[in-house]
């Protein structure tokens, strides 16, 4: 046995210092802090590949993108039809509802574009293909998130922006510097909050592989919820989406402030500027949940 090894051992395998004898010179060293960058880079690579491949069938892409646009447009058409019968819903005018709809839809659309594939995780756990992602030198989250990246989801973002544009054009708002700055901030923060929900929903599937639908309740359900004014809903529900799953910070709270209305639940006006903080906390928590889920998977293997 021993002499076989001596024969088979390659010349380049002369043991060097430490454990990395014979390592290829081009292997990049990654510091812990570079993990995030590494993940984003991998995400970008996979996304670019999927985009290139979907663009090979332009007609099909156009049809799907239009479908996405139309699906969400029908949603708003339903709201328009409601307003054909009424002047205000829960004390809010069509323009105000359009503003809520547009901000929620845009933020959610961005999150869906970036992380809309998270609901496929459970299937990957079930059929074992998650393992193939675990043996690559990039974070699993980046790979799962970018899997089957669908640029057609831009349709929803576009629709959200159009409705938002309509809302802004028909509302007579008292613009201050703070309000102007808050508008893009709340959309980005809202997208980040929805991203956190997508990640938590994805991580949940480490434990319950068939439960991807639960995620829909919080993501698509959350989006639908935020399209209507908070005054429509029961106080307990509003409380729940403020303090438990803080979706209210994705648009209700900052949007009501921008429209010069009272922030719900009698909270002080200043909370309207909290979305970036809430988003950061949500993302950090989502990261923790994801790590816990991945660790659970790696100890149980199923």
């Amino acid at each position: 046995m021993a002499e076989d090894v001596a024969v088979a051992a390659p010349a380049e395998a002369a043991p060097g210092a430490g454990g990395r004898s014979g390592a290829e010179p081009w292997i990049p060293e990654l510091s812990r802090g570079a993990v995030l960058w590494n993940g984003l880079r991998a995400y970008g690579l996979i996304v670019a590949m999927w985009t290139r491949s979907t663009m090979a069938y332009r007609a099909s892409f156009a049809m799907m993108a239009f479908g996405n646009f139309a699906a969400t447009a029908f949603d708003f058409v339903a709201i328009l039809m409601m307003f054909s019968h009424i002047e205000s819903l829960g004390g809010f005018s069509l323009s105000e509802v359009a503003f809520l709809y547009g901000t929620a839809g845009t933020a959610f659309g961005l999150a869906e574009l970036v992380l809309g594939s998270m609901n496929r995780l459970g299937g990957r756990v079930r059929d074992g293909t998650l393992d193939t992602l675990l043996v690559r030198p990039v974070p699993v989250l980046a790979q799962v998130a970018a899997d089957k990246f669908a640029l057609r989801r831009l349709g929803r973002v576009l629709q959200g922006l159009l409705v938002l544009g309509y809302g802004l054009a028909t509302l007579d708002l008292d613009w201050t510097v703070a309000r102007v700055l808050l508008l893009p901030t709340m959309i980005v923060s809202g997208a980040a909050i929805f991203c956190a929900v997508f990640v938590v929903g994805g991580a949940f599937q480490f434990w319950a592989q068939d439960a991807s639908e639960v995620q829909n309740a919080f993501t698509y359900g959350g989006n639908t919820l935020l399209q209507y004014p908070p005054s429509v809903f029961g106080r307990e529900l509003v409380r729940g989406v403020t303090f438990v799953v803080p979706l209210a910070f994705a648009n209700w709270i900052p949007a009501l402030y921008i429209m010069g209305r009272e922030v719900p639940l009698g909270l002080p006006q200043e909370v309207a500027f909290l979305p970036p903080v809430v988003a950061a906390v949500c993302c950090a928590l989502a990261g923790l949940v994801w790590r816990t889920g991945l660790r659970a998977y790696r100890s149980t293997g199923s």
Partner: protein
């Protein structure tokens, strides 16, 4: 058969023994993996019990070796591979690959290892083969020249030229497997793990894959660990073989030694001048297992020499011709399993 299970019981001490540790690329000391399994009993009640998928396994693989890892379904082969690649965290024991703990340094180690899962592809299902390779190129940060060189080599040796533009889902099993092996090697891994690389392949694909692995090991010195059902893989590729069952290592050593450990039997095929009653050789451990006209089959322990038996038969019976048949490994292993489960 007892040789290995004994050494496996020493969990820690073995690592530092002598100067051998330096060259050992893969080291396992008393590695265990225990799964909690919940089984339904009745309508809502569930019973929890533990399954020891890998039970205190220890072995060393030096750099550049090609090792076969065999055992029946559910023996713990895949679980071992998953621990070696860092996918699964061991429940107990010490595990090192290239000096690092795979479960802690999984992403970093991924750069240095190649994995092929026979049952599932690491390629992107809906995309042409070449797209997967291009992505691997960037993902593993392989220098362009190196990537081209490795890709050209794989394309040539694994005959992938016409498949590069075909979406992976349209490839046959054999084509896909070759594509997967290439994908696992584009970043010059130091070790290649193959989980059932020839499962479901036709004869030609099998031969191609085996030839490629042999060259890879000989020319590049890549360490190879392969699990398989197909003993021909092992016979053609590996000098060393490990046998696992019920999570325990039953055998670790040269392929040739497996016969002795398995306490298997060789067969003496005797052609006589005419039909006679079954041959009896009192005082030896040979016994007649079959007769057919003038031909008789005698089984005797593989560890004993055939010469004294042949001499006695020649003296006592009208011998025309005879041959000795070696036991095949499949039978040996089957016997090992049978013996073990009988205990």
């Amino acid at each position: 058969m007892r040789a290995v299970t004994d050494s496996a019981s020493g969990t820690d001490g073995a690592a530092g023994e002598g100067g051998t540790g330096v060259e050992d690329f893969i080291e396992l000391d008393g590695v265990e993996k225990v799964f909690d399994v919940r089984r339904k009993v009745g309508f809502l009640r569930r019973e929890r019990h533990q399954v020891r998928a890998v039970d205190s396994i220890s072995f060393r693989v030096p750099r550049g070796e090609m090792v076969g890892y065999i055992g029946p379904n559910g023996a713990g082969k895949s679980t071992t591979i998953k621990m070696l690649t860092g996918i699964l965290t061991p429940s107990a024991g010490r595990l090192r690959v290239a000096g690092v703990d795979p479960s802690r340094e999984r992403t970093r180690l991924a750069q240095r290892i190649g994995v092929v899962f026979g049952q599932r592809t690491t390629l992107w299902w809906d995309l042409p083969l070449i797209d997967s390779y291009r992505l691997m190129h960037r993902m593993y940060r392989v220098p362009d020249a190196r990537f081209r060189e490795n890709l050209d080599r794989c394309v040539e040796l694994l005959d992938l030229g016409e498949l590069l533009d075909v979406p992976v889902r349209q490839l046959s099993l054999g084509q896909r497997m070759r594509g997967d092996i290439a994908a696992a090697l584009l970043h010059d891994p130091e070790v290649l793990y193959l989980d059932e690389p020839t499962i479901g392949l036709d004869v030609i694909s099998k031969a191609k894959v085996r030839g490629f692995l042999r060259d890879l090991n000989a020319e590049r010195g890549t360490t190879v660990l392969l699990t398989t059902h197909d003993l021909t893989d092992i016979e053609q590729l590996c000098r060393r073989v490990m046998v696992i069952d019920h999570g325990r290592l039953l055998y670790d050593g040269a392929l040739t030694g497996l016969h002795e450990v398995g306490e298997s039997e060789r067969t003496l095929v005797v052609d006589l001048e005419r039909e006679v009653p079954p041959i009896e050789l009192p005082g030896t451990r040979a016994r007649t297992v079959r007769t057919q006209g003038p031909r008789q089959w005698l089984a005797f322990p593989a560890t004993e020499s055939a010469a004294p038996l042949v001499a006695r038969i020649a003296a006592e019976y009208p011998l025309v011709d005879l041959s000795v048949r070696e036991p095949d490994i499949e039978a040996v292993i089957a016997k090992m399993y049978a013996d073990r489960s009988a205990v």
